[in-house]
Symmetry: C2
Subunit: 322 residues, 2 copies
């Protein structure tokens, strides 16, 4: 019998809780033999208020983790910026020391990080919070591109629906691929998805408040993506030396001009793939790529999938009933 203890805290997303219950709480139809024993535990054995305002009675508390061979943190209300309770941190550290498998979904990675359990490891979380996660925990190698990171004893999942991908991975590890495929069929969800979390990340032009001259330069670049762009040219436009320009650019954007421009070109290509039916060749031109092949290579590196696969998924369908 495999025992999973899932921590249910105030503000938990009903979706993440739903994945826990659907995958680990119900044996797949036709499965013989013992399925997981799932214990939902609150931090203090009291009722919990979900993100959407539902009240759930969660009678078990953290003591229930003592029997578990997996402790799961399915969420964390990262937007509240509250501190992770000490009792939860100590429970997770003790479980880790006993060799218990630790799994986080979505922003649950913030809880494992607060317990110091991800230090020096690779980990992922919801892409919307991955920058803040990386700034708050520079000692963690954050990978926002993956749907999940299997680090052996500790596994972290990416945002929202990536909980399904990681849950299926856990089932695959515990019961084998045939059973995991059976669960995925029942869920009507692919057992393996291509392209990782990368294809879902939104890349808006960053808000730059501190450096007005650089901010207007970044806007200028976005309006001139088809122009050839050089560090010298940009530095001259900002009226500073190339060295000063590079230093300021990195301070504001966190990256090099080359990488930043490339990301903006790819973001434009994503928009055009979504909103137009222009060919990949034409989109490459409109975004300042030298060729369709160059667009394809960079697109795959950054978005994790091919331009036309991306278009098929994200293209605007007509809305006949609007």
């Amino acid at each position: 019998m495999k025992r999973i203890a899932a921590i249910v805290m105030h503000g938990i997303s009903e979706f993440n809780l739903g994945v826990v219950c659907e995958v680990f709480g119900v044996p797949p139809k036709g499965f013989d033999g013992p399925w997981y024993e799932l214990a939902l535990c609150s931090i203090d054995g009291a009722s919990v208020r979900t993100q959407g305002g539902l009240t759930l009675a969660i009678p078990q508390d953290l003591a229930a983790t003592a029997m578990a061979d997996t402790v799961l943190v399915p969420d964390w209300p990262a937007d509240t910026r509250q501190a992770v309770p000490e009792a939860l941190i100590r429970t997770l550290q003790a479980a880790h020391a006993r060799g218990v498998r630790l799994v986080s979904f979505c922003t649950g990675a913030f809880v494992l990080a607060a317990a110091g359990l991800l230090d020096g490891r690779r980990a992922t979380t919801h892409w919307l919070w991955s920058d803040r996660f990386a700034r708050q925990y520079p000692q963690i190698a954050v990978d926002p591109q993956a749907l999940y990171v299997d680090g052996g004893q500790i596994m972290t999942g990416a945002g929202t629906a990536a909980a399904i991908d990681l849950a299926l991975h856990v089932v695959r590890q515990d019961y084998g691929a045939d059973v995991a495929n059976r669960v995925s069929r029942y869920l009507v969800a692919a057992p393996h998805r291509d392209g990782g979390q990368a294809q879902f990340i939104d890349v808006p032009v960053p808000a730059v408040h501190d450096d007005v001259r650089l901010a207007s330069l970044l806007s200028w670049i976005v309006e001139h993506l088809t122009d050839p762009i050089s560090v010298e040219g940009l530095a001259a436009r900002a009226a500073v030396s190339p060295r000063t320009f590079l230093r300021r650019f990195r301070a504001v954007t966190g990256t090099t001009p080359y990488q930043w421009v490339l990301r903006q070109r790819i973001a434009r290509a994503q928009q055009l793939l979504e909103r137009t039916s222009e060919s990949v060749e034409r989109i490459a031109e409109l975004c300042g790529f030298g060729s369709a092949a160059s667009l394809r290579t960079h697109f795959r590196d950054i978005v994790g999938t091919a331009p036309l696969t991306y278009r098929r998924a994200f293209r605007h369908s007509s809305s006949p009933n609007r």
Copy 2:
């Protein structure tokens, strides 16, 4: 302001409820303007026990549907075979007569069907229940291949995670494709998925209790999928006339020998794609298809995707930590 009333009944899957709350209960980050107003209503305004045994206080009752322009039935405990409460049926019929949009997820289609609202229409439900659904409601054109069916005023979704696909379709209709794409990015779920529900349907050899001779013949066919198979040959093997054979075959399987054998060959091909690294050419041979092209054509018709796309999704990965 768009108002959605979602019916929460005993036995509701936490996952389906989670999709409702995540998509309709929370505006996408950065979205300006009013999002849906979501009302969760139980049938009698009392607390509800979920599939996994959680107790939810759902203070609103069916009266809350009076204000809604969409009424959503996110689930139905089809395995209990209980009757749909009369009060719910009357509420849905009245909403339909007022021109309210009706949406079902998963087995929620059973509720719309019980209210007679799907008669003469195309509809879908979870593939696991679609045969029973079709038998119980022969006046409905059941399409178990689709992820959802948009019938205008009434929309029905397929199983479990297909709730996400239909929910995104509703957002696309109400707020446009840009907003729906933003929600899908946040969910880390594709706004459009290829291949429909078809690729998730499991096709086991049906249990045949009534006709022992035909049952052993079906087993024989499954063991001889690479042989040429004819109605005459099978009838001779069953020691009946071809006409009698065809009649009995259809009575037991619901289809023709040709279609049945084709499904079994495709099911075998799916297994080999999942479990081996044989080429499509070799798998075509092993399953009794004349050529790889013939396998590809039938595979796409029945499974809704290409053999290698299917393999990429369902192939068994190694399980390093097992």
